[in-house]
Symmetry: C2
Subunit: 334 residues, 2 copies
C-alpha cells in the first residue's frame, strides 16, 4: 500500500488524464489516491471511494524566477500536494507539471535529505537489454565533483529498487573511456568515484550507455539534458524517416504493415509514457515529475513508478546511503 497524492492540474490536458488515471490506479493497486486541485472541477468527477480530494484553488504558473515569498504564499495544487508529503499524509507526490516548479516547491517545503548538496532529476533510459538510470538530466546545469558522487550514490539506490539489480554498475559520462578524458569536472570526479566504494566501472560514452554496460550513469544536468533530448529526437527522426520510406512503394508498404507488431514494440520501448514519471532524488520527500503531454496511460504509469519507489522504501534507503558517505571526504573536494 502506498499513499500517492496526484497533482490534478499538471498535464497539458488537465484534469482529465489525472482523474482517469487516479481511478484506474485506485482500482488496480487497491491504493488510496488523493487528487489535488480545485474542488469545483474535481468533486463531481470522483466516483471511487478510494480516490480522495484535496482542495487547492490555484494552478502553478510558469515563471522565470520563483521567490521564497511566492512559494510561502502559494495555494496551488503543487504546493498543496507536496505539503501533504511533508505532513506525512502521503508517501509520494506525482505531477505532470513544471519540473522547475516541482523542484523549487519541493526544496522549499521538504528540504533536502541530510548531507545532499543538490537534488537530481533522474531518468530511466531504454538501453540494450533493459534500462539505465541517468542523472542529472536537468536540475543542475553546472555541477561540482561532489555532487556527481552523490548522484552516483542516489542513482545506485534507485537502480536497486526500480531495476532490481544488486551492486549497480556506475559509469561516468565522458568523451572517451580513458581516465584522463573529459572536462575538469569529469577528471576531478573520476578519482572520487574510484574511492567511493561504489561499483564504479569508469568513464562511459554513448556506446556503453546504450549498450547496457552500466546500470547508472552520472553527469551534469546540462549534458544529461542535451543527451536526453537529443536521444529522443534521433529516435523520432529515425522512426519518422522509416515510416516515410515504408510508404514510398507498394512493396515496402506491405512490408511495413506486416512488420507493424515489431514497430509497435519499438515504439513502446521508446515511449516516455511507459515510464510515466521520474524522481527528483535528494529532496526530503518523494516527488515524481512526468511530461506535460502525458495521457491517462502515462499518468497511470507515473503513479505506478511512484508507488514502486514507496514500496521499495526509496527515501529511507537514500537517507542511509548518503549518511554512510564520509562527510569530510565530501567537504574537502572541489
Amino acid at each position: 500500500m502506498a499513499r500517492i497524492v496526484l497533482d490534478a492540474m499538471g498535464s497539458d490536458r488537465h484534469p482529465e488524464p489525472e482523474i482517469a488515471a487516479a481511478h484506474k490506479a485506485a482500482a488496480h493497486f487497491g491504493d488510496e489516491i488523493t487528487l489535488v486541485g480545485p474542488e469545483e472541477r474535481l468533486a463531481s468527477r470522483i466516483t471511487n471511494p478510494s480516490v480522495h480530494l484535496m482542495h487547492a484553488g490555484d494552478v502553478f504558473e510558469m515563471a522565470e524566477h520563483i521567490s521564497a515569498d511566492e512559494l510561502r504564499r502559494s495555494q496551488n495544487s503543487m504546493a498543496a500536494g507536496i505539503q501533504m508529503v511533508k505532513d506525512g499524509k502521503a508517501d509520494a507526490f506525482v505531477t505532470m507539471g513544471n519540473t522547475a516548479g516541482a523542484l523549487a516547491t519541493g526544496l522549499y517545503k521538504l528540504g533536502r535529505i541530510g548531507g545532499v548538496k543538490r537534488p537530481a532529476l533522474t531518468a530511466l533510459f531504454p538501453v540494450k537489454g533493459g534500462r539505465c538510470v541517468l542523472l542529472d538530466i536537468g536540475a543542475n546545469a553546472e555541477c561540482r565533483p561532489e555532487y556527481l558522487v552523490q548522484f552516483a550514490r542516489m542513482g545506485a539506490v534507485y537502480a536497486e529498487i526500480i531495476l532490481g539489480v544488486a551492486n549497480p554498475r556506475i559509469g561516468l559520462l565522458s568523451n572517451g573511456e580513458e581516465a584522463g578524458k573529459g572536462t575538469t569536472l569529469v577528471k576531478e570526479t573520476y578519482p572520487l568515484l574510484k574511492a567511493s566504494g561504489l561499483n564504479f566501472i569508469g568513464n562511459v560514452e554513448g556506446k556503453e550507455l546504450f549498450g547496457g554496460l552500466a546500470d547508472v550513469v552520472v553527469t551534469d544536468g546540462f549534458t544529461g539534458n542535451v543527451l536526453l533530448k537529443s536521444s529522443e529526437a534521433v529516435a523520432k527522426l529515425l522512426i519518422d524517416t522509416l515510416r516515410e520510406e515504408l510508404y514510398a512503394s507498394a512493396r515496402t508498404k506491405i512490408g511495413g504493415l506486416l512488420a507493424r507488431p515489431a514497430f509497435n514494440r519499438i515504439r513502446k520501448l521508446l515511449d516516455p509514457a511507459d515510464i510515466g514519471a521520474v524522481p527528483l532524488l535528494g529532496l526530503g520527500g518523494l516527488v515524481f515529475v512526468g511530461h506535460g503531454r502525458s495521457d491517462e496511460r502515462a499518468v497511470f504509469n507515473a503513479v505506478r513508478m511512484a508507488r514502486q519507489a514507496v514500496e521499495g522504501n526509496l527515501l529511507v534507503r537514500l537517507q542511509s546511503a548518503l549518511a554512510m558517505e564520509p562527510e569530510s571526504q565530501v567537504e574537502v573536494v572541489g
Copy 2:
C-alpha cells in the same frame, strides 16, 4: 581539380582501403592524388599514373601526450602529408588516423588561421530534410564564449560550401530554448552571437537540431562529442532492436524482407561512411579526419568531401570570415 594527399596508414585495415580509394578517386574525379606511407608497402600497388607516392617510413603512434620534440622529429605519414599542405604541394590532407594526432600535427606544422583561438572538429549530422553542421565535436573539451562565436563563423562558411545554403541559420546548443537557459558558457555566448551579424536563431535543443531547424549548431567539444556518440548509439540500438523484433515471427520476418529497401536507405542516411571525413576547421591548412574503421567507400567519400572543400575555396573563405571579426570584441570577453 584538387590536389589531395591521403594518409595511406590511417585506417584500421591500412593501407588497403586507402590504396583502393585513391585509385577510384583519381579515376572518378580526374584528380592527382598522393598516397603517403612506406614506399615498400605502396609502390608496387599503385597502378594509375594520377596516383602518386610520398614516402614516409613511420606510422603515427597513439600516445597520451605528444611533445613538440616528437612532432618535430616525426617521420610518420601524417607529418609527411601535412607537410605537403604546408609546402603548397597539396590542397588538403585526409587521414583515417587518430584525431588528436592530426590536430597536434596540424597545429604544429600549419598553425592556425589568423585570429583563430581554437580549431574545431566539425561534424555533418543527418537531420530531417538534410544535414546540419555541428561543432565542436571533440577538439576542445572546455571552451570560452569567444571560441563558440568563432566556431559559428567557421561553421557558417562550411555550411555555405558543403550544404549550399546562403546565410546559414546558427543555433546555440542548450538545455532549453529560452535565452536564460544553460551553463555560464551558453549564457555568455548568447549575447555575443546575437551581436555577431550571423543569422543567429537562438538556443536549440535536440528537437530543433534533428528537426533540421538550424544549419549550424555550436557547442563545446565535450557536449558535442557526447551528443555525436550518443546519437550514433541510439540509432544503432534502435536498428538492432528492430532487426531482432522483425525476426521474432514469420509474419514480421516477411515484412522485414519486403521493407528491406526502406531499411537500407535509413542505414545509408546514418552511415558515417557516407560523409567519409570531417574537417578540423581553423588550422592554417585543410585537414580532414575520418573513422579508423573506414572501408574503401568511406575513404573515397572522405576524398570527395575534402575536394569539395578545396573547390569551394574553404580556407580562403574561412580566413576572410574570421578577418572580418572585430578583434577588440573578441578580446574583451570571458
